[in-house]
């Protein structure tokens, strides 16, 4: 609860109906996915509730956000911004925090067809953008989380891998002009947006150095360094014709396949063969989707329920599966791409399991195009989180996967995470194979205390392994403790990151829980 007079001041900014400090609302916002094991890791009670926010505020404009942030500075109250709000990184790290739910900032500000970008506010979902830009033959990059997630959050503040990354890259690299309310309440407009006259969204860099460098990294600052209120994001060609029709009824909609789309499911013999195949296919620049995943995960992306997952034995015993989707706008393009695939399959002695041993439902293609494959991670246990998250070459990703299997198996044997033979991994190419990332989706049961404890411990051990064996940096190195642990092994980056925090947030108002605080551990 807020003090009466402070509440009044916030109300003045957003109107009475757009702030709520009641018990029910604040408790609801204290809950999130995976909070139970985050709590466990922080030696707290492993319940799915974090610290309770003091109030939830629903601003509708950048100016309102700015005023809220200024008021937070005035009263020394921290804030946490959230867009679609999925995941523990949306949670306040102390009791002295308000949540800015940006749900009312839900406009597509502009679709710039000629300059191939779209400008949006925080609460516009990936699917909402996609359906609007498709009208111009264009597409948007969406994270694996799915089309319901905020595109702005992914581009400015979160991670950024997606199933279509071979063609649509990584969120962090698709950012153009950005409007950013700094933790002090000043509004920073990056790149061409900062021009006093004729400002526009087409560039987010400069003049001079690009402040995108402090805005986010491989992962975002997760509301640890202000609030992003509008962002311009690159658009990509929609990979095939834009008729998108799903008839019938939920969940097994009958998707009318666009003319030129085809999936390949290939089984590579071993990691070496897989690496070769990945690189070979990607350097031909033909794939819309190019993902390696375990057989278990392959079964999951083709399934719409746990029960139907279990009847996919035909594909359940693959060695090193590779899922490729090609799509084309014209028949010529399609024929060419298929020819290339045939050539490579001949060269590498691969056969397409789709069409021979297995035929996916048409819905699979609908989900490929709408980036809805990630959610299948929840099918088996209802609980899931990814360990790892390193990103560099295919070789690094596959080495990491290989070394991780025995570790994961150890926890599977303990019965605390579900059995995917230890192999559960998802790896995707970016920018036609210029780099790759891998993560290890791990299935747990959030209602089972042992399982919660188990995944937490597994995650910790997995991080340790990556650190010691030089396997790259996982996604979730965030918060003071992990930064202080990893920093010394990564050029003491934590010192610089902390200086950025200190400089741009002198009062420590932007919740540092999933970023870094300025106070601790400076060397």
């Amino acid at each position: 609860m807020l003090k009466e007079e402070i509440l009044k001041e916030f109300q003045k900014i957003v109107g009475d109906e757009n702030i709520d400090d009641g018990e029910v609302t604040t408790n609801t916002y204290a809950y999130n996915w995976c909070v139970e094991f985050v709590n466990y890791l922080a030696n707290k009670d492993p319940i799915p509730f974090s610290s309770i926010p003091k109030a939830i505020i629903l601003p509708s404009t950048t100016e309102e956000v700015q005023k809220i942030v200024q008021l937070c500075n005035k009263y020394d109250i921290q804030f946490k911004a959230q867009s679609t709000g999925l995941g523990p990184w949306n949670q306040p790290s102390t009791d002295n925090c308000v949540i800015l739910d940006l749900r009312r900032m839900n406009k597509i500000v502009k679709i710039d067809v000629k300059n191939l970008y779209v400008v949006v506010e925080p609460y516009v979902s990936g699917a909402q953008i996609q359906v609007e830009v498709m009208k111009f033959g264009l597409n948007i990059h969406m994270p694996g989380a799915g089309p319901m997630a905020s595109a702005l959050a992914s581009h400015t503040s979160m991670c950024g891998p997606g199933f279509t990354s071979p063609q649509t890259g990584h969120s962090a690299r698709n950012v153009l002009g950005t409007e950013w309310v700094l933790p002090t309440g000043k509004i920073l407009r990056l790149g061409s947006l900062g021009l006093k006259k004729e400002s526009d969204w087409y560039s987010g860099d400069g003049p001079g150095p690009s402040l995108r460098g402090i805005m986010r990294g491989w992962v975002g600052t997760k509301s640890g360094l202000g609030v992003f209120t509008r962002v311009a994001m690159k658009l990509f060609p929609y990979p095939c014709n834009t008729k998108y029709i799903a008839k019938g009824h939920s969940p097994l909609y009958d998707f009318h396949l666009p003319d030129f789309i085809r999936a390949y499911l290939l089984d590579c013999r071993n990691f070496k063969h897989l690496e070769k195949s990945l690189l070979r296919i990607e350097e031909e620049e033909i794939a819309f989707i190019c993902s390696h995943m375990s057989s278990f995960a392959v079964m999951a992306i083709f399934s719409y329920s746990l029960e139907s997952l279990m009847d996919k034995i035909a594909i359940g015993s693959m060695k090193k599966p590779l899922v490729i989707v090609i799509a084309a706008r014209t028949k010529r393009e399609f024929d060419y791409k298929q020819k290339v695939m045939n050539l490579i399959m001949d060269e590498l002695n691969l056969t397409n399991i789709i069409g021979s041993k297995y035929e996916p439902k048409s819905l699979f293609y609908a989900e490929c195009l709408r980036a809805n494959l990630g959610y299948h991670g929840f099918i088996a246990t209802g609980g899931f989180q990814s360990a790892k998250g390193q990103c560099d070459t295919a070789a690094l990703c596959l080495n990491t996967e290989r070394k991780n299997i025995p570790l994961k198996q150890k926890y599977i044997e303990k019965g605390v995470i579900a059995n995917d033979f230890g192999e559960g991994a998802w790896m995707t190419s970016y920018e036609s194979g210029h780099y790759f990332h891998m993560e290890v989706p791990t299935l747990f049961d959030q209602t089972n205390a042992e399982s919660v404890k188990g995944i937490a411990e597994y995650m910790e051990e997995s991080n340790q392994m990556d650190l010691v064996k030089h396997l790259g940096t996982p996604f979730f190195i965030e918060g003071d403790e992990l930064h202080d642990e990893w920093g010394p092994h990564l050029m003491n980056y934590h010192i610089w990151l902390r200086k950025i925090k200190e400089t741009f947030d002198p009062n420590g108002i932007s919740d540092p829980g999933f970023y870094i605080s300025s106070k601790k551990g400076d060397v």
């Binding site: 018990e23 408790n27 609801t28 809950y31 939830i56 998108y244 009824h249 029960e307 299948h376 929840f378």
Partner: protein, 434 residues
Amino acid sequence: MEEEEYQKMIKRCVRCSVCKWIPQVQIKSQKYASGCPAIDIYNFHPYSGGGKIIIALAYEMGRIKPTEELRDIVYKCTACGNCAVACKYMNTLEPLEIIMKLREKLVNTGCGPMPQQQAYIEAVKKVNNPYNEPHEKRTDWIPDDVTLDPNAKILYFVGCTSSYRRKEMAIATARIMNEAGVSFNILQNDEFCCGSPILRIGDTTTFEEILNKNLDIIESRGIETVVFSCAGCYDTFKVDYPLSRKFDFEVKHTVELFDELIESEQLKLTDNVPIIVTYHDPCHLGRNAERYEDWDGDVVPLMPLVSINIPPKPKRTGSKGIYDAPRKILKKIPGLKLLEMERIQEYAYCCGAGAGVKSAFPEMALKTANMRIEEAEDSGADFLVSACPFCSTNLQDGINDKKSKLKYFDISEILLMALGLEPEKLKQATAEVL
């Protein structure tokens, strides 16, 4: 939902917000992507289906108390069930059932329902209808020229709203059946509220009494088929009654019956009805009208943490609602053109009236109706058609409030026009939109 399942399920929401939208692969525009009226209007997460699952958990954990704040949030929800369809596209949670159970718990502690809703419970108890109208006036709608057959095996259950508020629907239904030569009867003074409005606000005890009373009467009359023109009554009989007490008679919504009558040519659509319509799927005729299928399989542990149902447990996904019948009827009407809205069938957007919202939160009902009206307008149609007296009332309120040019008709009224029974009405209606 059984208590044990409830306790398990409320711990499983992943807060993905999928339930705020229609199923992702059905989104066709930014404007009509959302699926939950409550979150659309009130914005704070607890108003969404998933939000109410969190509330349920917080409540069970003693983190929140039964207060007015809690009550208001839980009742600002039309129980439209979009959240359940969206969640179960991939996940397995039952947000709507959890909301219902939560309401039941609030009623049991005396925290729920809303005072206006309590008033209509009292009315039902007293005069058998939530509108507090005299019971004896229930049959006032019956025109002289309608023929009833005391020996008929088909019963037309008129329902409170059609009897008192949307008489035109009851009349149209009766006339169409007469025209087709279907002999039917009504319960006259033995017809009482079906209990739907009471069930949806969580008073399961009163509901139980009502359903037993109704079933006793119907069963005592040797009825084979009960026909409903009200989607709410239909859903309650079809889906909710059997959960407490099984019965042998068949239940049918009028759109199903009319569709059959057209197919069998008992009804001949002779007249041109040159209008452009769009059809609103009532939640209670659509996604919520899917029966629970019996399942007594086994939960088999497959490996640690993973158990499966053998045989697979049927999931109520909204796919078995009544979607085709009304569309088939409309498409067969000569001269009529049907244009679809973006959100249809199991992912249709609610009219805004359901589950006690119209009485307790009229502003929410109206706002929701306005959004739906806008979507109907955007479809390019001049006429909005549906098959539920509740939707009818609320959507017409929306049309008036929004000063929309749309004209609303129940599907039975359109059918009357096609049967040549309402030439004047047709003339007048087309003149008005043109």
